[in-house]
């Protein structure tokens, strides 16, 4: 008996002494100079599929790729209105070189003294200097069918040589990397020109996306995923080697990705301007300093939202998104932090995303495609504000146009005349469309429409029901077709729908990246014009606008394009999403631009405050242990007596 109590005491002591910190110890406790090692722990919803910059095209991949690799240009981390490109690996902004019919090339100069990460793929183990040939190699990779670059066909339309090299490789079933890439003219080790087939001002945005990040040929060839002398080397897409502020040192699938600071990083420094005046003191302290401030970034893969939230509550991760299931815990009805989280000192951020969600009509459908008044009527009857209140915690922005705020050409004061939730106007339009009170004037039959939606959980089913009811206020009947994501995609590709809900997130903040969704030459399978909207006037203006640098004339064209879409109504703009995020008191956010995915290079944390708060938030009460011990002791006594009695 005494022995049993001893065991129990030991078990309780172990339990009480054991830390509930879920992280492995950081790489080091202190830096070389004795100051605390800054390790930051971030929740990450899943493993990235690939860290190959020429292949990766998802948020998760980019979150890591953009810390390991850098591109010629990047976004200013603080400026959003308008967004601004600044040089990163490039020494100054590129110079356009004009041909007789517009801009046909851009000349880039590469900063001197930029080195790739130290890695065994280099013969000395030391990273070598970045040169212009690395850019030519990156573009060769974009053309290589084996790399599967998802934006090849977009770039091939404008950049010299991509299409030919791709066709040639498909024909010969191999890619000859010894051939120079025809679209890049290497002037010297630190200067190159990108040659264009036609004017393409958006190229500069592409030069800030991971697809155009320089990669060392040594790494691609070294990390081939095969066995060498008995050890299997990783595949390049899991072992990135770049010039960026962090190096990936460990990736445990399903668990974590750990990056540590690239000590040789010199390419960029903290910006010296662009911050909001209200926060000047904080930013001035960082202005012009070498970055990154963090020594280690530990992305923890947490696929379920509840554990992610628990770890945030305990202070073990620095940031949290606010999903529907935890929104009310942290945010009050007035969209402020609840008193509990205010007292904790947590930071709340309201991020407007550069995206637009909309209903879109299939313009090839004989009922909705040929009847503009009908589309306008549906637009006028729909109560977007109510939908936002019920389903989006009231925080999304009501959209009046295709372009989201911050994108060049967005008109803050624009009101879509058919999107003001006016039931009277809607009925009037419907009557003019030939369906007074929802019945076909000729046949007397009720109009029935089919709405295709992705429905995969209770919430999306409720939303579908809401959307149906809103439109049925017109007196017509709406049948909701519930699809799984894959089926929905399939229907959109094949044009097998009447109308549906959709959305687009900016690749870059240029109106071209939104209006191209309604460009006649982008009708599937060629592109993403799922509405199959074909309007020669729109296409003509779009082509003109696309080839222009920003100017009052371009602004005028953008406004005209918007006016055409508004009147023709191939889509009904619904909302621009806003996401609420939380940061711990010791890790206030620095970056203000939602397009920046390498924000961690500017971030710093207060390690001492974190330590203190973690202790404060994870106190261990002793009474439950005492309770368990008492219960077990009582059970033991009972069992002992019982065995005595029943022998």
């Amino acid at each position: 008996m005494a022995l049993r109590i001893l065991y129990l005491t030991v078990a309780c002591a172990l339990l009480a002494g054991c830390s509930n910190n879920p992280h492995p110890p950081p790489f080091r406790e202190k830096r070389a100079d004795g100051t605390p090692w800054q390790a930051s722990y971030r929740p990450f919803p899943d493993d990235p599929r690939s860290l190959d910059p020429q292949f990766s095209y998802d948020t998760l991949g980019h979150a890591v790729v953009s810390l390991v690799y850098e591109e010629m240009l990047e976004y200013h981390p603080l400026k959003t209105d308008p967004y601004e490109l600044i040089p990163c690996l490039a020494d100054g902004m590129p110079e356009p070189i004009s041909g007789s019919d517009g801009t046909l090339a851009y000349r880039f100069r590469i900063k001197r003294g930029v080195y790739f990460h130290d890695d065994p793929c280099f013969s000395s183990g030391k990273g070598r200097e970045l040169v212009a040939a690395d850019m030519a190699y990156a573009f060769n990779r974009i053309a290589d069918p084996k790399v599967e670059c998802p934006v090849l066909s977009t770039l091939a339309e404008f950049v010299v040589g991509l299409q030919e090299r791709n066709d040639e490789a498909k024909r010969t079933k191999s890619f000859d990397y010894s051939k120079p890439f025809p679209g890049i003219r290497v002037i010297d080790d630190h200067t190159f020109d990108i040659l264009l087939l036609k004017p393409f001002p958006q190229l500069l945005y592409w030069m800030a996306m991971p697809f155009t990040a320089p990669v060392p040929r040594e790494a691609v060839e070294y990390y081939d995923g095969r066995s060498h002398d008995g050890t299997i080397r990783q595949q390049f897409k899991f072992k990135p080697v770049g010039t960026g502020p962090f190096r990936l040192v460990e990736w445990k699938k399903g668990l974590s990705l750990r990056l540590i600071r690239n000590d040789n990083y010199t390419a960029t420094r903290f910006p010296t301007e662009g911050w909001p005046a209200a926060d000047a003191a904080r930013y001035q302290a960082m202005a012009g300093k070498p970055i990154p401030f963090l020594d280690e970034v530990d992305f923890r893969i947490i696929r379920e939202s509840i554990p992610a939230w628990l770890l945030f509550r305990q202070g073990y991760v620095e940031a949290a998104g606010l999903g529907k299931d935890v929104f009310d815990t942290a945010v009050s009805a007035r969209q402020e932090l609840t008193p509990e989280y205010q007292a904790r000192g947590v930071w709340l951020y309201k991020d407007a995303e550069p995206s637009t969600f909309y209903f879109q009509f299939n313009m090839q459908n004989p009922v909705v495609g040929k009847n503009r008044k009908l589309r306008q009527a549906i637009s006028a009857v729909y109560d977007v504000d109510l939908e936002i209140d019920i389903f989006m915690n009231g925080i999304y922005l009501n959209a009046q146009q295709l372009l989201p705020p911050g994108v060049y050409g967005y008109q803050a004061d624009f009101k879509d005349p058919y999107r003001q939730h006016n039931v009277e106007q809607a009925r009037q339009l419907l009557a003019e469309a030939g369906y007074p009170n929802g019945y076909d004037a000729k046949t007397g039959k009720q109009l029935q429409l089919t709405l295709d939606l992705t429905v995969d959980d209770a919430e999306s089913r409720q939303l579908a029901e809401f959307e149906k009811e809103q439109i049925e206020k017109l007196g017509i009947s709406v049948k909701v077709e519930e699809n799984l994501w894959a089926t929905q995609q399939d229907k959109m590709d094949r044009g097998n729908f009447q109308f549906t809900a959709s959305g687009w997130n900016a690749d870059y903040p240029d109106p071209e990246n939104f209006f191209f969704l309604f460009y006649g030459k982008n009708i599937p399978p060629e592109g993403n014009n799922n509405s199959r909207y074909a309007n020669p006037e729109f296409d003509r203006l779009f082509e003109k606008m696309r080839a222009m640098e920003n100017s009052p004339e371009r602004l005028d064209l953008i406004h005209r394009l918007n006016a055409i879409l508004t009147e023709d109504c191939p889509m009904i703009p619904l909302y621009h999403p806003v996401a609420f995020h939380l940061s711990q008191p010791w890790a206030p956010r620095v970056v203000l631009n939602p397009l920046v995915s390498n924000g961690l290079k500017y971030t710093q944390i207060d390690v001492a405050m974190r330590k203190q708060k973690q202790v404060e938030w994870n106190r261990k009460p002793m009474w439950p242990l005492a309770g368990i011990a008492a219960f077990l002791a009582a059970a033991g006594m009972f069992a002992y007596r019982w065995s005595q009695r029943h022998g």
Binding site: L15, A16, C18, S19, N20, P22, H23, P24, D46, D47, R49, S50, Y57, D58, P145, K146, E148, C149, P150, V151, L152, S153, T154, Q235, K237, F238, K252, K253, G254, L255, S256, R300, I301, I302, R303, E304, I306, P307, L310, L311, R313, Q314, L484, W485, A486, T487, Q489, D490, D493, P524, P525, E526, G527, N528, N618, K620, P624, L625, H646, G647
Partner: protein, 324 residues
């Protein structure tokens, strides 16, 4: 014995083949390979990129039979996939291109670290509890036991997990709410809570099952004989009934052994344990058909091996049963 084994193993072939045909068809009914490619490459991927992806993985071949002129009829997706599985050439994940064999090897250890202790504790606790309830059968304690067990069976594992994380990890801060890394003794702190919850979640059903088995035994003739000879009730139960009841129990337990390696789908996902359960859930979520079909294949193999083991055990433990 040998001929029996060979016959049983041959029976397994058509069953596995059937399972694979159903999986193959179901997966493509739910979504086309094109949709799968879109999901993996991102909804913005261009048709050319998708075509290229499909081609590189053989998903652009005909489904079952190749009727294209100049092609051999067996040059189809189904034949290629079945051939690869039959030769245990597990191939590469559709989503990440990782070697599936490697993914399975890495996932097995974390899964076993959870399931083996849970299995042992669960077995011992439920056996003891069942014997206790049989001993006090038809009393109020027994009735209470039945109610408790049914209640425990009815609660889904998610509820155990969420409540456990909230109570043990958040309210009392004793153990991590989440996470896992292999590093000697400190791995234990990540195992305690999942093992407790996994054991608890299965306990109700096991106790009920074992109790039923023992209750059946207690009405046998040999029990009456022992009682008539004046053997004490405790000895009758713990020696005579236990021994005979174990025959059925062992066969049941052996059948479940191969499944330990698969791990727990829900638990691993909620605790972020990188085991095979997590791997499976994630493969389904990301439409990674290569991993799903391998999991189904290995899962059905394991199931059949379990059944075979059961039969062998049954014959080995119970002298009345003979191989035929």
């Amino acid at each position: 014995m040998a001929s029996y084994l060979i016959r049983r193993i041959l029976y397994m072939v058509p069953i596995i083949f059937g399972v694979m045909v159903i999986t193959f068809v179901l997966f493509f009914v739910v979504q086309s390979p094109t949709a799968m490619a879109k999901r993996i490459l991102g909804p913005k991927a261009k048709p050319e990129a998708i075509q290229n992806w499909l081609h590189n993985r053989g998903y652009d071949k005909p489904r079952f039979i190749n009727t294209q002129p100049g092609a051999t009829w067996w040059d189809s997706q189904f034949v290629h996939q079945m051939k690869a599985l039959a030769t245990f050439d597990l191939g590469y994940s559709d989503a990440t291109g990782e070697s599936i064999a490697r993914m399975f090897r890495q996932g097995a250890i974390p899964s076993l670290l959870i399931t083996v202790p849970s299995f042992i504790f669960g077995f011992l606790i439920s056996l003891s509890a069942a014997l206790f309830f049989v001993f006090v059968r038809d009393s109020r304690t027994d009735l209470f036991g039945v109610i408790l067990c049914v209640a425990m069976m009815s609660i889904p594992i998610q509820v155990y997990v969420i409540f456990g994380q909230w109570l043990i990890a958040v309210k009392t801060s004793y153990l991590p709410a989440f996470g896992f890394y292999l590093s000697g003794a400190s791995t234990i702190k990540f195992l305690v809570l999942p093992v407790i919850l996994y054991t608890l979640a299965d306990l109700g059903g096991e106790v009920r099952l074992y109790r039923t088995i023992f209750l059946e035994e207690i009405h046998q003739e040999y029990v009456k004989t022992a009682q008539a000879k004046g053997v004490s009730p405790a000895r009758v139960l713990f020696v005579h009934v236990l021994k005979n009841g174990m025959i059925s129990i062992i066969t049941l337990v052996v059948a479940s052994l191969p499944f330990l390696i698969i791990g727990s789908l829900v638990l691993e996902n909620f605790f972020g344990i990188p085991g095979l359960g997590n791997l499976t859930v994630n493969a389904i979520r990301t439409s990674d058909f290569a991993v799903v079909r391998t999991t189904v294949y290995l899962g059905s193999l394991l199931y059949l091996v379990g059944l075979l083991l059961t039969d062998i055990c049954y014959a080995a433990v119970d002298p009345r049963i003979r191989f035929q």
